[in-house]
C-alpha cells in the first residue's frame, strides 16, 4: 500500500509500481510517477516545512511550479544534495532521501518558532528600521547575525559529481506549455511542415488536464488526448517534444532559454546522461501557452498545513489518486473550486461545506452541489482557522459580521480565481494591460514575434482556446514561411464554465484588522504588511514590494503579486493599473548553477592555451605561470632549488653563457600590401619608410589620446610585407585596434592584416654563446655580426625547415629569435637545446626574462605603463617620428596636460640598502615625516633582485622623475620606511656593447 490516503481506482499511477523514500529519516512508500508532495499526502503528511521569518508550520499549497511552501532538500549521496526543491515538482525515486528545511531541532518542534510570538516586533521594514544604529554594529553584529539566520536550505560542501550539458537549437515555432492550448498550437504548426519545439515543465504533457477530468477532447478524456497528441507530435521529424523542460528566460529576438531535467526523476541514472540540459532556442515565432495559476484566499491564519489550492487537491485526487483529507472544507470566490468538491465527494470524501464569499455563485455549480448534497454557504467567509500542525477547523461567518460557526475539517481547499501566467510574455518585454471586466492583467502590446493563447491570454472557454491555438499555430507557421494544407479539427467539451474570482483581502482580513492573513507564504508577508508599507509612505508597487519583500522569495510571488497589488490599490484608494505591476524577470523558476554553466567546468572552464613546446618544457622541469589564457614557463628549478635560486642561476647563466626561452606567445601580425609601410606609419609613432627589407625596428603605438597602447619589434620581410610582433596580452586587441583603424579611418590603403601568432613557434636564444648554439643548425643565413647585425631578420632554414630568423634582444645580450612553423617547434627546440646544454647554457622562463629586461631598462607595456603614460614619460621620446605629419595619437600628444611639467615619468630606483627589494605597487613620497595622509608622488612598477648587478633594482613612475636623478625619496611600508635614490633606467651594461657581440 502506497499510503493510507490513496483512493483505490483513482488517479493515473500504476499501483504495482512502488518506490520507497524517506522524509526526515522516516521511510514511506510511494508510487512511480508520484511527486514528493503527492507521496507525502498519500501518507497523510501535510506538515513539510517552516516559514522563513516566523517559522510557522507549513504544508503543501499547490501541485505545481508555483509552490511557495513545500521546499525540501533532496539527497542522492554526500555530493549530490539539492536544497530548496519544490516537493510538488520533484518526482519520487526509489531510495530518495528528503529532508525538511528551516527548522531546528525538528519539523514538529522548531525553536525558531519563537519569532512567531515576537511577530508584533517584526513588522514589515523591521530590518531597515532596527539595524541602523550604531553604525559600527552593522558590520560586526547585525550583518553576520542576519546572514546566519537568513538563507534557506543547506548547500552541499562537496564537488558536484553530476554533469550537465548544453544545446543550441533553432525552430520556426517554439510552443511554451503543452496543455490543451499548447498542444493544439503545436499540432497546427507541425502539420504545415514547420520546425516545432514544444516544451512543458511537467513530467507529462496536459497542463490543467492533470486535474480537470471533466474535459473531453475529440471524444477522449482530455489527459488521454494530450498524451496521444504528444506521442503523434514526437513521431514527426520536424517536431521536438520536451517534457520536464521549463522555459525560464525569454530574451531578445525570440531567444528562449529552457532547462531540461534529464535524470532528476531516476533512481539510478545512467552516468552518461547529463543531470540537466540547457537549451538555448532561437525561434522565428513563439507561441506562449503557459496557462493560469490559481490564487489562494487571503484570510486570518490561512497558512496552516492542510489549506491548499482547490486545483491542487483535484490534481492530487485525479492524477495521483490521493485524497488530501477525510473531511474537507472549501473556501472560494470562484466556481472552479466547486469541481474539486464534486470530485472529492464522488470519491467518497466528506465535504463539510463550500463557503463562497459571493452572494451569487454560478448557477450550474450551485445546482450540482445541491444534487450531490453539499452544503453551500454563499455570502459567507472563513474568518479564522485552528489546528496546530494541521488545520482542524474553520470559523465561518456571514459576510458583514455575525457569530462565527466552527466547522471541523482536516483540509481546506481555497480559490480566489485564476491569474494568467504572463511571465514569458512580460519577459519578452511585452506590455500587459489590465482588463477591468475580468480584473486581471492580460497580454497587451507585443514587443516580439510571439503570441499568447489560452488561459495565459485570458481565454476561458475550452473550444475558444482550441480555436485560438489552432489559428495561432497556423499563423505563426505562415509567418515562418509555411502553409497549412489540411484543416485540423479538435473539439473539446467541459462540465462547467467558471465565473467569479477576487483579488486582495477577504472578509475579516480587511483594513481595520491585524490578523495574519498571508499573501506571500514563503516570505511571510500578510495583508496588513502591505497596508503598513503604504502608511509609511510607499506608494509605488516597486517600493511596497521591497519594503515588505512581497513576491521576492524563490516563487517570485506567483500566488501573491496580484493580492499584494489589490491590497495596495485599495489602501491607496487608486485603481489597480494605476499602482502598476512589478516586472517579471528570468528565471521563471529557479535554475541550477550546473545548468547555467553546463560544460564550462574543469578543463573546459576556459581554454587553456599551451605553446608547441609545452610538453618539452614540462619534461625539463618548468614551473608554469598563467598569462591570460596561456601557460608560460615561469622558471626551471633544478633539484634542490627554490624559485629565487633558480631565477638567480638563470639570470647569471644567460649573461655568462646563454639561455633559450619560449617566446611563442608573443602576438604576431602579418601586414601585407603595397601600402603596408604607409599603414604602419599611421599606426606607430615611428617612421617605417626608411626601414629596409631585412631590418627590424622597435615600434610604439598609441591610442587616440596619446598614451602608450602597445609596443614590439617589427621586421620588414619585403617591400610589401611586415612581420609585426605585439605583447602576449596585447595580441588580440592590437589586431582589433589595427583592423578598426584600417576599416574606418584608412580604408583607401591597399593593405591586409592576418594574425600569425600561432603560425610560428618562437625560440629566443640569448647570451654571449647564442650564435655558437644556433650556427650548426642554420642553413642559408650568414650569422656574422657584419652580415646579420642587431635588429635584422633573414629567411633561411634551421634543422632543414624554413625559418624567419630575427637578430634581436630583450635581454641586452647577443640574441636571436628563431621563428619556425609551429609544428616544427618541438623538434627545433630539442635540436637547439642539444647544442646549448653542453655549452653550459640554460633554459629560462618569464621571471628571468622580466629581470634581464629590467636590468636593461626595457619597459613592459601594462606593467611599467598603465594607460596614462606617454612615450616621453617612458623615456621613449626617441621613438616618436618628429617629422611625421600624422599617426594615431599625434593630436593627443599635443594636449596641454601631456606636455606639462611635473608629469609622472619612468625612472630607476636604487635602494640605499642594496639587499632590500621594493614591492611592486609601493607608493613613493618626498618627506617620510609628513602628516597623514601623505602626498604620494609615484609608485614602483617593477622591482627585482638582480643577481647580475648584485643588488636590488626597480623601475618607478615618479612625478617629475627625470629631474630628480640622484635625489633621495622614500617608500613608506607598514613596518618601515625604505630610502631610495633616483637613477636612470639602465642598471647593467650601460654602454650597451654586449648586444652587438
Amino acid at each position: 500500500m502506497s499510503g493510507a490516503n490513496r483512493i483505490p481506482g483513482a488517479g493515473r499511477l500504476t499501483p504495482a509500481k512502488t518506490a520507497r523514500f524517506s522524509f526526515d529519516g522516516k521511510s514511506y512508500a510511494a508510487l512511480e510517477g508520484d511527486t514528493v508532495a503527492s507521496a507525502l499526502l498519500a501518507n497523510g503528511v501535510h506538515l513539510v516545512g517552516r516559514s522563513f521569518k516566523y517559522h510557522r508550520p507549513r504544508g503543501i499549497v499547490s501541485a505545481g511550479a508555483e509552490e511557495p511552501n513545500a521546499l525540501i532538500g533532496v539527497e542522492r549521496d554526500a555530493a549530490r544534495k539539492q536544497p530548496n526543491v519544490r516537493a510538488t515538482v520533484q518526482d519520487v525515486f526509489d531510495g530518495m532521501k528528503v529532508i525538511s528545511q528551516n527548522r531546528w531541532p525538528s519539523l514538529a518542534f522548531d525553536v525558531g518558532a519563537v519569532s512567531n510570538l515576537l511577530s508584533p516586533f517584526l513588522a514589515a521594514g523591521f530590518y531597515y528600521k532596527t539595524f541602523m544604529w550604531p553604525k559600527q554594529a552593522w558590520k560586526h553584529v547585525y550583518e553576520p547575525q542576519i546572514r546566519a539566520a537568513a538563507g534557506l536550505g543547506v548547500s552541499p560542501t562537496e564537488d558536484d559529481t553530476d554533469h550537465y550539458s548544453s544545446r543550441y537549437a533553432h525552430c520556426d515555432v517554439l510552443v511554451i506549455g503543452a496543455g490543451v492550448a499548447g498542444l493544439s498550437a503545436a499540432l497546427a504548426a507541425a502539420k504545415t511542415g514547420a520546425r516545432v519545439i514544444i516544451c512543458d515543465e511537467q513530467a507529462e504533457v496536459g497542463g490543467a488536464l492533470h486535474f480537470d477530468k471533466s474535459v473531453t477532447v475529440n471524444g477522449l478524456e482530455g489527459f488521454t488526448w494530450a498524451q496521444a497528441t504528444a506521442a503523434d507530435l514526437a513521431q514527426m521529424e520536424n517536431v521536438t517534444v520536451l517534457p520536464r523542460t521549463t522555459a525560464f528566460g525569454y530574451y531578445a529576438q525570440n531567444f528562449v532559454a529552457l532547462s531540461e531535467r534529464v535524470t532528476e526523476h531516476l533512481a539510478k541514472p545512467d552516468r552518461k546522461l547529463p543531470r540537466e540540459r540547457l537549451w538555448q532556442v532561437r525561434a522565428k515565432r513563439v507561441i506562449i501557452a503557459t496557462g493560469a495559476i490559481e490564487r489562494h484566499m487571503v484570510f486570518a491564519n490561512n497558512d496552516r498545513p492542510g489549506i491548499m489550492l482547490a486545483s491542487a487537491a483535484r490534481t492530487f485526487l485525479n492524477h495521483f489518486g490521493v485524497a488530501v483529507g477525510k473531511k474537507i472544507g472549501v473556501y472560494t470566490a470562484n466556481d472552479s473550486a466547486y469541481e474539486a468538491a464534486f470530485d472529492l465527494k464522488r470519491a467518497g470524501i466528506t465535504v463539510a461545506a463550500i463557503v463562497d464569499s459571493r452572494e451569487k455563485p454560478g448557477e450550474a455549480v450551485l445546482a450540482e452541489a445541491r444534487k450531490l448534497g453539499i452544503e453551500v454557504l454563499a455570502g459567507h467567509a472563513v474568518v479564522d482557522t485552528a489546528g496546530k500542525l494541521r488545520v482542524a477547523s474553520m470559523s465561518v461567518a456571514r459576510n458583514g459580521g455575525g457569530r462565527a460557526r466552527s466547522i471541523a475539517i482536516d483540509a481546506l481547499l481555497v480559490s480566489a480565481g485564476w491569474t494568467p501566467s504572463v511571465h514569458m510574455f512580460s519577459q519578452s518585454r511585452g506590455k500587459v494591460a489590465y482588463d477591468f471586466e475580468s480584473q486581471r492583467f492580460l497580454p497587451g502590446t507585443y514587443a516580439q514575434d510571439c503570441l499568447s493563447v489560452g488561459a495565459c491570454n485570458g481565454t476561458n472557454d475550452l473550444q475558444a482556446t482550441i480555436e485560438e491555438s489552432l489559428a495561432a499555430g497556423e499563423l505563426m507557421s505562415n509567418a515562418s514561411g509555411f502553409t497549412a494544407t489540411q484543416k485540423i479539427e479538435i473539439h473539446g467539451g467541459n462540465a462547467f464554465a467558471w465565473t467569479g474570482g477576487m483579488a486582495g483581502a477577504a472578509e475579516g482580513a480587511g483594513p481595520d484588522t491585524t490578523v495574519k492573513a498571508f499573501i506571500d507564504f514563503q516570505n511571510d508577508v500578510c495583508a496588513k504588511d502591505i497596508r503598513l508599507a503604504v502608511r509609511e509612505g510607499m506608494h509605488s508597487i516597486e517600493h511596497i514590494k521591497r519594503f515588505t519583500t512581497n513576491g521576492m522569495a524563490t516563487d517570485q510571488g506567483k500566488l501573491s503579486n496580484i493580492h499584494g497589488l489589490a491590497i495596495a490599490a485599495e489602501t491607496l484608494g487608486r485603481e489597480i493599473p494605476k499602482v502598476g505591476l512589478t516586472t517579471f524577470r528570468a528565471p521563471y523558476t529557479p535554475v541550477t548553477f550546473g545548468t547555467l554553466i553546463n560544460h564550462s567546468r574543469g578543463e573546459l572552464f576556459d581554454p587553456t592555451r599551451k605553446t608547441p613546446m609545452h610538453a618539452l618544457e614540462e619534461q625539463m622541469g618548468a614551473v608554469f605561470e598563467d598569462v591570460g589564457q596561456w601557460k608560460r614557463a615561469w622558471y626551471y628549478p633544478r633539484a634542490g632549488e627554490d624559485m629565487h635560486q633558480a631565477v638567480n642561476r638563470e639570470c647569471k647563466t644567460v649573461r655568462d653563457v646563454a639561455g633559450i626561452f619560449d617566446a611563442s606567445t608573443l602576438g604576431k601580425i602579418e601586414v601585407v600590401g603595397p601600402d603596408a609601410a604607409q599603414f604602419l606609419n599611421l599606426i606607430y609613432t615611428n617612421s617605417w619608410d626608411t626601414l629596409k627589407p631585412g631590418r627590424c625596428r622597435y615600434g610604439i603605438m598609441l591610442r587616440e589620446d596619446g598614451f602608450v597602447y602597445d609596443d614590439g619589434v617589427v621586421g620588414r620581410m619585403a617591400e610589401d610585407r611586415f612581420h609585426v610582433t605585439t605583447t602576449t596580452g596585447g595580441a588580440a586587441r592590437v589586431m582589433n585596434h589595427m583592423e578598426d583603424y584600417l576599416q574606418t579611418e584608412f580604408p583607401h590603403l591597399n593593405v591586409w592584416l592576418t594574425s600569425a601568432t600561432e603560425q610560428w613557434a618562437v625560440i629566443a636564444v640569448q647570451g654571449p654563446k647564442a650564435r655558437d648554439i644556433i650556427a650548426p643548425l642554420v642553413e642559408g643565413i650568414d650569422l656574422s655580426n657584419e652580415a646579420f647585425p642587431h635588429m635584422s631578420v633573414r629567411e633561411g632554414k634551421i634543422c632543414g625547415v624554413p625559418t624567419r630568423l630575427f637578430r634581436m634582444s630583450f635581454t641586452g645580450e647577443t640574441g636571436f629569435e628563431v621563428n619556425v612553423p609551429a609544428d616544427f617547434g618541438p623538434a627545433v627546440w630539442a635540436a637547439i637545446w642539444a647544442q646549448a646544454e653542453p655549452m653550459g647554457a640554460c633554459a629560462y622562463g618569464t621571471e628571468t626574462m622580466h629581470i634581464l629586461r629590467a636590468e636593461k631598462g626595457y619597459i613592459i607595456v601594462g606593467q611599467d605603463t598603465d594607460g596614462t603614460v606617454t612615450p616621453d614619460d617612458a623615456s621613449l621620446g626617441w621613438a616618436v617620428g618628429k617629422k611625421k605629419p600624422d599617426f594615431v595619437g599625434i593630436r593627443g600628444l599635443r594636449r596641454p596636460d601631456l606636455v606639462a611639467d611635473g608629469r609622472k615619468q619612468l625612472v630607476g630606483l636604487l635602494t640605499k640598502d642594496p639587499n632590500v627589494v621594493l614591492e611592486e605597487g609601493a607608493q613613493i613620497v618626498v618627506d617620510p615625516n609628513q602628516a597623514l595622509p601623505m602626498t604620494m608622488i609615484g609608485h614602483v612598477t617593477s622591482a627585482y633582485w638582480s643577481e647580475n648587478c648584485g643588488r636590488s633594482i626597480a623601475l618607478a613612475l615618479v612625478a617629475g622623475g627625470k629631474a630628480k636623478l640622484g635625489q633621495t625619496l622614500y617608500v613608506p611600508m607598514p613596518d618601515r620606511t625604505i630610502a631610495v635614490e633616483v637613477s636612470d633606467m639602465v642598471f647593467f651594461d650601460k654602454e650597451g656593447g654586449r648586444i652587438n657581440g
Binding site: G673, V778, A822
Partner: protein, 187 residues
C-alpha cells in the same frame, strides 16, 4: 655546419596528433595536416585568383568551393580561408595570379577536428549557436563562428560531416567540448 642539415631534418608535431573521440552518434578525429592560406583580395582580383587556385572563389557569405581536396571558404567580403588537404604549395599558386592580393601561410596556425555521424549537428550545437539544419547550413556551407569560448571556422563537407577549424592552442578545448557534446548527442 652543413653536416647536420638534412640528416636531422626536424619532424612535425601536429596538435591533436592521433586524436579520436566522440560517440556512436558523432565520431571525432583529427584532420590530417593540410596547407592553409589566409587569402585577402578585392573583388577585381577574384577571377585571376580563382584561375590560379583551380576553383572559383566564393563571393557569397556562408559558401565555399571545393575540388580535389582543396577548399576555399568565404570568411568575409575580401577574405578566404584556403585549405589544401594534399599539402600543395598554395602561396606559390596564388603568387602566379599576377593580381594584387595578400597571402599569409597559416598551415600551422590552424588545426581541424572532423565531426562525423548522424549526431554531428547536435554535437556541434552543444557549443555553437548557428542553425546547422541542412536547409539552412547545406553541404558546402561554412562560417567563422564560435564553439563555447573559442573561435572556429565550420565547414559542412557532407550531410553528416563537418570540418571544425580552430587555432592550434584552442584545439584541446575545442576537441574536449566537442567530445562532451558528442557524448550527449548520443543520448
Amino acid at each position: 655546419m652543413a653536416d647536420l642539415i638534412g640528416a636531422d631534418l626536424a619532424t612535425r608535431t601536429p596538435p591533436l596528433a592521433g586524436f579520436h573521440g566522440g560517440s556512436g552518434a558523432a565520431s571525432l578525429s583529427a584532420a590530417t595536416p593540410a596547407t592553409r592560406l589566409s587569402l585577402r583580395a578585392k573583388p577585381d582580383a577574384v577571377s585571376a585568383l580563382s584561375l590560379a587556385l583551380g576553383l572559383s572563389l566564393p563571393t557569397r557569405s556562408k559558401t565555399s568551393a571545393s575540388g580535389h581536396g582543396r577548399h576555399a571558404l568565404w570568411l568575409g567580403p575580401d577574405e578566404w580561408l584556403v585549405i589544401d588537404e594534399n599539402g600543395a604549395d598554395l602561396t606559390t599558386a596564388v603568387a602566379s595570379s599576377g593580381v594584387l592580393h595578400s597571402a599569409t601561410d597559416i598551415s600551422h596556425r590552424n588545426t581541424a577536428v572532423i565531426v562525423k555521424g548522424r549526431g554531428a549537428e547536435v554535437a556541434i550545437n552543444g557549443g555553437c549557436p548557428q542553425d546547422l539544419s541542412l536547409a539552412v547550413f547545406p553541404v558546402g556551407a561554412c562560417s567563422r563562428t564560435v564553439l563555447g569560448k573559442a573561435e572556429i571556422v565550420l565547414l559542412r563537407t557532407a550531410e553528416d560531416t563537418f570540418r571544425v577549424e580552430c587555432w592550434r592552442s584552442f584545439a584541446p578545448y575545442v576537441s574536449g567540448l566537442l567530445n562532451e557534446a558528442a557524448e550527449d548527442a548520443g543520448n
